[in-house]
């Protein structure tokens, strides 16, 4: 300890204090402050860039989500549209079928009715023709067989008897 005190040099202490305080002040003004400020600024810049990148990423994600949603909606809409269209088509087809069937039915019925009428007409015509033919035949037969007056009268009587019997 004695040696340390003996070795102590006031001049060196004085100069060291003076130069060191001067150095701290000078470096503070000309070196540390600009350096630390520049470094801080740079770090803040980097932080800001990172933050904005993060934000952009988030925005991108939300945009993507939006897109996805819109796409989904569009797809659903398309599906429902297609479904509707199919239903309409089916309905149209079934309606058309029913119509056609009904029409066909009426046509057939009409046809049937017409056929019936024709048939009746034909039958009645046939009847008249057959009656006329029969009368003709009968006339001829009668002409030939009933040349005498007596025979004619006998036959008339006979026929009349039949008719009344009926």
């Amino acid at each position: 300890m004695d040696k340390l005190i003996e070795q102590f040099s006031l001049g060196l202490f004085f100069w060291q204090s003076l130069l060191f305080i001067g150095l701290v002040l000078l470096l503070k003004k000309f070196a540390w402050k600009p350096i630390l400020d520049a470094v801080n600024e740079r770090e803040e810049g980097i932080q800001n860039a990172l933050d904005s990148a993060e934000e952009a990423k988030k925005e991108m994600q939300s945009l993507n989500a939006d897109n996805e949603r819109i796409l989904k909606e569009a797809r659903a809409e398309r599906d429902s549209l297609l479904k509707d269209a199919r239903e309409v088509k089916d309905k149209l087809i079934s309606d058309a079928k029913e119509d056609a069937q009904e029409q066909a039915k009426t046509i057939i019925e009409n046809a049937k009715a017409a056929i019936e009428v024709e048939k009746k007409a034909a039958i009645s015509e046939l009847k008249t023709q057959v009656a006329g033919l029969s009368i003709e035949i009968a006339e001829k037969v009668v002409k030939s067989e009933l040349a005498s007056k007596d025979d004619q009268l006998a036959l008339v009587d006979k026929i009349l008897g039949d008719v009344t019997l009926k």
Partner: protein, 380 residues
């Protein structure tokens, strides 16, 4: 460890030792102006005593000399073929304040490396054990029983070798860091040497200042912490070069540094800090009375230990390293000398680590003390 007069013993081993040093110095130092001094009047008596001195004492004396400050920037010295001492280095200004004559300024070359008294304003001054004493024209030094000089000592503000080195390092630091600061104006990234220094600056900020002081208040202390770290580191590293400077093994330098830490701590201490010293909360009253002087003493011991730690680590490193280098010349055989060379090499690497470690510890503990002074306790 004993100290010896610095100017008296020179002979061939010293010369070999120093010639090895010269090659290193020539490589490393080209900026110091070389001034050669031939000392004609080298006494024959000194030569006779030198032959009686053992090599061990010689080395011991050299180490003792190395650890001391000197009044001129001596790089090395040797004995030429005519038996004259040749000193290579530059003289530095001596600044004395004498109570009678006031300010005295003269060149240290007037001392002739401590051999003759220098005259200024009618008074004579002589260097004895690396201190300047007032003497007569013959340079008589009066010694008391304990071999301490009793001559009057003028106030000594000389630009010694250490002061010159401190000044040069300050200039160097200012040059490097202001250039680095300028480089930020043109680009956001550091250029050149700044690329190496910026991580260190950021390390001090992020791993020393912020964790210890706190994010809110660290900015105020950054200038001091950065300056002290780089100053101590560079000075310690310079001490490992063959320049032969060793600033941080002067107690005056470490005292100045630790006093600054002490003053900053004391003046930035808030209410909580003083309350924890004088009236420790959370302990019974009798304990508070016992704790107060202990805590108060603690505030002084903290910077004291800072001072001693830096001083002792560097001094011990220099003594051990130089002793092992000295061993090379004691062994003088082909086993011992390479062995001590290897050991010295390994120790030099260790000292490189210690140089940075001590700067780190000094900065770290300073930050810790500042942190304790500004800490806000959110209790009770």
């Amino acid at each position: 460890m004993q100290r010896f007069l610095r100017h008296d013993y020179y002979y061939h081993m010293r010369r070999e030792f120093l010639i090895q040093k010269i090659t290193f110095i020539l490589l490393l130092v080209s900026f110091v102006s070389f001034a050669q001094h031939h000392d004609a009047d080298h006494g024959a008596a000194a030569v006779e005593t030198s032959s009686e001195t053992s090599l061990k004492e010689e080395i011991k004396e050299f180490i003792g000399h190395h650890l001391l400050d000197s009044y001129d920037f001596s790089l090395f010295s040797y004995e030429d073929e005519h038996g004259k001492d040749v000193h290579v280095g530059a003289p530095l200004p001596v600044i004395l304040w004498d109570s009678e004559t006031g300010l005295n300024v003269f060149s240290s070359s007037n001392f002739h490396h401590g051999e003759t008294p220098a005259e200024s304003k009618g008074n004579f001054y002589k260097v004895y054990h690396s201190k300047i004493y007032k003497t007569d024209a013959a340079g008589t030094i009066h010694l008391d029983d304990h071999h301490h000089a009793t001559n009057e000592k003028p106030l000594d503000f000389s630009i010694t070798k250490n002061v010159a080195v401190i000044f040069l390092v300050s200039l160097l630091m200012f040059f490097i860091f202001s250039r680095m600061a300028k480089s930020y104006k043109t680009s956001a990234l550091p250029t050149g040497f700044g690329r190496l220094l910026e991580p260190i600056i950021l390390y001090i900020r992020d791993d020393i200042a912020i964790p210890n002081i706190g994010k809110k208040k660290y900015k105020k202390y950054m200038s001091y912490l950065l300056t002290v770290f780089f100053f101590v580191w560079i000075i310690n590293l310079l001490g490992l070069t063959p320049l032969g400077v060793n600033v941080t093994n002067n107690i005056a330098v470490t005292l100045a540094l630790s006093l600054m830490t002490y003053f900053i701590t004391t003046f930035s201490g808030n209410k909580d800090y003083w309350k924890h010293i004088f009236w420790m909360p959370g302990v019974p009253t009798p304990m508070k009375i016992i704790l107060a002087p202990i805590e108060l003493l603690g505030t002084i011991i903290k910077p004291f230990s800072l001072m001693i730690r830096l001083y002792a680590n560097i001094t011990a490193g220099h003594i051990v390293l130089m002793s092992i280098i000295g061993l090379m010349f004691i062994f003088k055989n082909w086993i011992g000398s390479p062995l001590s060379f290897g050991l010295a090499f390994a120790l030099s690497l260790l000292e490189l680590l210690v140089a940075a470690l001590q700067a780190y510890i000094f900065t770290m503990l300073s930050a810790l003390y500042f942190g304790s002074a500004v800490e806000e306790h959110d209790h009770h």
